[in-house]
Subunit: 284 residues, 4 copies
């Protein structure tokens, strides 16, 4: 049995759901999940749909071709179709912090993540032993002030040779340039250790401490050229008090970062995120 | 323009979404919201759908008749159709506590609730001034050990004469018998001041204090004959500490009760709740 | 029996707790609550203490005089002493929104708030009926572009003639000038409908919607001359999703505003807040 | 400089704080933290205090002896004194689940936990590689229906020979008998995968699913002879919906279990927990 996930968006207009569900029925498919959203400010229709094809004669290639020549043209759809056969491939970029990495790999090992991790990459060697323990290839690509262009070239080569679908920056601590962003638009997930858009940039825990906030947060978002300003995928917060030192904030923040980043990874890997005009639609 | 909300459930089977969306398209309707859920344990399909009919020739009665004679038979659907023209009518039963009542009426006044309140009813007169202030009819129906059957007869007469759609027990403090429950199945919403199913019955805050829990909760549910065991609509919790006295728990609990009950009311009034085998499906 | 609350802060130094508790014991007082905090960044010691004096010969005035001439000088203490006999008087400033007002008055009526409300004040007449229902004097002081100085003069006169201890701006919607702030430093509590310091200024829900955040918040703080930058007393947040319209955000926000403002009022009225360098210490 | 933590409880009575702080001042100590709580239901006074002794002539043994012969007798104190020099030793018992273990060891490695882990112990060999990676001794003590008494004897011997202060059951999945509990009263921390006291016993996620609750939880508590009924140290919860399968609940629950257990470990290791009559006082 073939199972696919279909994501579409287009200008809002009548009969999209009926037309798409008809198209699937005509291909002897059965819809097992459908959720949609209309952004009334921008007049955009979004839909996420899972369906199964049990016919032995089903061909995904033919289905895509027919879809492209039919409904895509009629409704001017933007669309993506994923086969559930193929798990997405996620590269993990890290630096020296290990808390997000342990969290991701623990979930990966337990079977909680519906994805493959072809490799870890870091500008430092510190976390190589963790990669070794979990038996995941590790690439050390040092980044210095002078070799950044060259380093990103190496990174791109690795992403391409491993057929990577998306990248997660698990506290990577380096700014990724448009060289890479442009090749992976809305496919590079970052974790920022604050409740964006507050406290952008470095040292958000110090800023939070200084301002005396009673809640801290973490934000996972797709990176874009503008720093810390990309579409937000997931956020969470924790209550704090005047008794917290900056180190306490950092420790509490690590818990938030882990959970929020893993949530974002799961949403992306399960193709539940759509992006439009720098905002996300997150299907359940 | 006519706008309707359609709720269906049935044994899970192929092509339901396509058939229903086709049926609507054939009636020149446009689906503006669709969400569905498959309960794989029980093999039941649930769907909630909103659609608009802009044709001047549209007749809701004809639509219902066609639906009933067509898809309902084909798929053995259980179904409900609501016109958005008609706001549901909610009766509010109270006793002496006023916090949930103020919360409901404050929201009602602000236009936040998509419903009408034909009357308040209480076994005591204490809250009549609040009803007066908000200009809502108030009925005093005393309930004693001896007159319960008679009192419920009066209540039923009021519910029927005011064409009430559902009832909210805003800390009503009386057990409602099957005489009324049977006439309003899954239509009587209660607020219980604990995180059900823990601490059922009276005095949950005392039980929570005694057990030394670090979190308290509140639960809104439809009442059924079994006390505190009906389908759960909404729950929320708050962190507490050893410094809380029982009175502190009660005060904190009031905040939870208000929010949770109002959430449940909004979900029900917006026809976002479906019930099957004592569990709810809550559409977003 | 006399019961007092003592708040002190000073440069951190040895023996403060022993000296103060000795002083109280020597006055035949019994400490029933003591909490302290040392801000190690600024090297400041904070303490909050409640004690009871059961001796018939106890004189609060003598106690204060002795304290002032003794420990205050020795340790260079900043100090405040409150008798539990005297409930603080809180003036409530409102505009047209009623949700925070209903919440405050509901709690006030239920006995949850340890304070007195001598009057409500508004630049509009809309909420006068609520004041009437709760039998609280209402003053209408219109504020226009041209009469602001005069209006604030009237406000100050009312605050003084009613012997007001602190003011709560329950969605007052007007900027309070330094004329009033200077007379009530860290005694005017505002509720801001965002998770400060993000989205300062007006229309935070619109900004939150535009940025696509997944969490919204509310902040209660003392007002200072710099807009929305005063010491934060309490904050809370709620999760939202892409399905929320701006109106949904506003409705959800009302729930946050009510709870957060009431928490701040309770903390202030119970003398649990200390302010130093634009940050708060909140005792439990 | 010597730094100690002092925990006391006794029947509530006047002058305890003054007497203790005096005693410390007389020993030329400086109190750097003091928090107390009076349980008014049971009339019990609890206090936690940290103080520093910079005098070169300070002797902890003498201090303890004086304290024991003086204040302990005067006030009939129950007391514990810990030197900050000595980190508590925590044994970790596991079975086959690794999520709590990874979480604990990740924090241990990062320096977040103020304790030492002399060994891991399991009834299975599955998690030995993790112990090896983190370079912590691992003991395999199989437990069968027939060898339980003997196995617990081995466990006790290990606990004693390693001078273990407390034990954490990180999803150990075996019932620990009174043989061990009696030797480590309020020193064996368990993580239960529900919001106790609801859903005691095994399979709480199945019970939660069946009841249709909208929130799940996790509870960390000291084990006592009565199953799942010991003093609660920490709890947390997460919102769920009808879309969650039992496997989704289990995955979500893992996140709760990790956080709640680690919180409990930190509270215990930092000597912030006091137990009285099966309830905890948790100092901040």
């Amino acid at each position: 049995m073939d199972k696919i996930t279909l994501l579409i968006h287009c200008k809002d207009q009548p009969n999209i759901i009926a037309s798409v569900s008809n198209f699937i029925a005509n291909n002897r498919g059965n819809i097992v999940y459908l959720d949609q959203h209309v952004d009334r400010e921008q007049d955009i229709f979004f839909m996420r749909l899972e369906c199964e094809f049990s016919s032995s004669s089903f061909s995904l290639e033919d289905f895509k071709m027919d879809f492209k020549n039919g409904l895509v043209k009629t409704f001017h759809l933007k669309w993506r179709i994923y086969s559930s056969e193929k798990k997405p491939k996620m590269a993990v970029f890290v630096s020296k912090y290990d808390h997000c990495l342990y969290d991701i790999l623990g979930r990966y090992n337990s079977g909680e993540l519906n994805l493959e991790i072809p490799f870890l990459l870091s500008n430092h060697k510190d976390l190589k032993p963790i990669a070794d323990n979990f038996k995941i290839p590790f690439y050390h690509v040092p980044v210095t002030r002078n070799n950044k262009a060259e380093a990103e070239k190496k990174q791109l080569a690795l992403l391409e040779s491993h057929d990577v679908d998306f990248v997660v920056l698990a506290r990577y601590m380096q700014i990724v340039s448009s060289t890479i962003i442009d090749k992976y638009p809305n496919k590079i997930i970052n974790i920022h250790h604050s409740f964006l858009p507050v406290f952008v940039g470095a040292k958000p825990y110090h800023s939070a401490f200084k301002r005396g906030v009673k809640i801290i947060g973490a934000t996972s978002h797709y990176i874009t050229e503008e720093l810390d300003a990309g579409p937000i995928i997931a956020q969470d917060v924790a209550h704090i008090s005047h008794t917290y030192t900056i180190n306490d904030l950092i420790a509490k923040g690590r818990d938030l970062e882990k959970i929020v980043l893993s949530n974002a990874i799961k949403l992306h890997a399960n193709r539940k995120v759509m992006v439009f005009n720098n905002k996300t639609v997150i299907f359940s």
